[in-house]
Amino acid sequence: MTHRPRSLFQKVWEAHRVRELDSGQTQLLIGTHLIHEVTSPQAFAMLRELGLPVRFPERTFATVDHIIPTDDQSRPLSDELAEAMMSELERNCREYGIRFFGPETGAQGIVHVIGPELGLTQPGMTIACGDSHTSTHGAFGAIAFGIGTSQVRDVLASQCLAIAPLKVRRIEVTGELQPGVYAKDVILAIIRELGVNGGTGYAYEYAGPVIDAMSMEERMTVCNMSIEGGARCGYVNPDEKTVEYLRGRRFAPDDARFEARAAEWLAMASDPDAPYDDVVRIDGSTIEPSVTWGIHPGHNLGISESIPTPAETPEDERAGVEEALEYMDFVAGTSIAGTPIDVAFIGSCTNGRISDLREAARIARTGHVRKGVRALVVPGSAAVQKEAEAEGLDEIFRAAGFEWREPGCSMCLAMNPDKLRGREVCASSSNRNFKGRQGSPSGRTLLMSPAMVAAAALAGEVVDVRKIG
């Protein structure tokens, strides 16, 4: 039998293909479905209207993250709408027999943090969730799609999606990262290079020495922001690190089956001679700590660089740059370093994991939050919170003047009470710097790594973290 070399994407796609549809789409089986309180209630309502059951209730897992307050999570929640959304999720899970990881289980957290943590996310799976940052799970060599509410209904009803096949772009990050440069900087550099729409129609396969050297948590940060580069999903081929991360996790295969499953996981990796629709190489050794200066994640630059001028900008991006400069009220041609900040936010599904908090704490212990700066640390999950507290990170943050909060999405999108006010500038470890994203219609967001956020909190302005730690 001749060997047909395939990428991981192709292998996963073929294993999950139910049939081809007349529309040209593929009916793809979704192995693991994750839901939360914002995009699922209407899907359940539609299901009820149609009189349909949930087809594989044991393959859907729920948590509450977007609307949950991070100061006081006692019930009923003080925000009535938030309480209604949470109760509705609880009711739906009860009624349809879906496992719910609520705050009382000790397993609650941001959906993209708890999936891997619980071992629900595994290589070779298809995963879907009504949230665009579902691409995070690709760090394990899963093909993971963010979907809309009617697709949530489709998955509940049929465990399938109707979806068109994607092209695959391999992105090789070569060389070695400089000290003070993190996974966040790598993905910001990739988006800067390829553009916020550059990934349209693609799955991104991240590879090369820099990605190989990354921990699982760092790989999650990279995959998380695939969507910000326009890609439908992003993944890293599974390796020994992937296997070791999953060993012993609650939903990982049990000991008797683990080695056999691990061998299958490794075999899902792209074949050495797999075909790609595109290959891009990026030199990792030239990446600097990066900061966004504008209104989408592609508007980012290295800390030593200056904010672009419209005149130097290619014509098709000029209007966007002008609009961004006007909204941010920044001066073209000036340095981003030294920009004063009002708020510092460490958390989110991009950078709210234990390794992120450790790096931020390492910086935080060198000083105190600058007077006038509001600084928040929001662990990505209850498990992260527990681990951080066991290590004493909460004490370090508190001593340095940061607020230590309960887990949730918090100020990443500000559907809970954590919001920017007015024109505040926020150094944020989250993933979107869109206008108004952090809860104030005129608020301003500067995306950067958690260590850079901590450094900015201490200095009261954007600084190069390499000068501190």
Partner: protein
Amino acid sequence: MSRQGEELVRIDSVEGTGCVVRGDDIDTDRIIPARFMKVVTFDDMGRHAFEDARKAAKGKHPLDDERFSNAEILIVGQNFGCGSSREHAPQALMRFGFRAFIGGSFAEIFAGNCTSLGLPCVTLDESDLTKLMDAVELDPTQSIRIDLEARTVTSRAGEMQAGIPDGVRHQLLEGTWDATRVLLEAGDAIERTAAALPYIG
């Protein structure tokens, strides 16, 4: 309502009275303000359709105009439904009572969301659209017929050529616009695919 096991719903035409909302680039935030995202069902969404615009118009908004009450076809300008991709927008309009849209053009995601609800969005060229809007405002009682088979819009203003992408037209005519239904048609093949996967089977 249970559609399980019933026939596919084929949509070859929509007939009813119209309501005219003039203006271009009406975004989904205007159709359904963002604060209504914090809800658990779409049921109430109809009431909130165009809520802020209607409040601002103090009862003078077309959706509050008695002459247009019971209208089933919404007639709009260019680039209707632009902005955020929220599915709440077509849901709100459907629950308000609209079953189809005629406009100059529609934002792609909005139109896609409409298709998945079985709500056709058809386009007219500019002069025809103006003629139709004028005619409906003059006589709101007249019946308008969107014929997807013939690709026409017929009213007292005459028969006009209507645009709709081939793929969408096919889905509506064949009754395959409802993705859930199409996916469920695969039947046992779903379980068979699942059973062959090492982590499920």
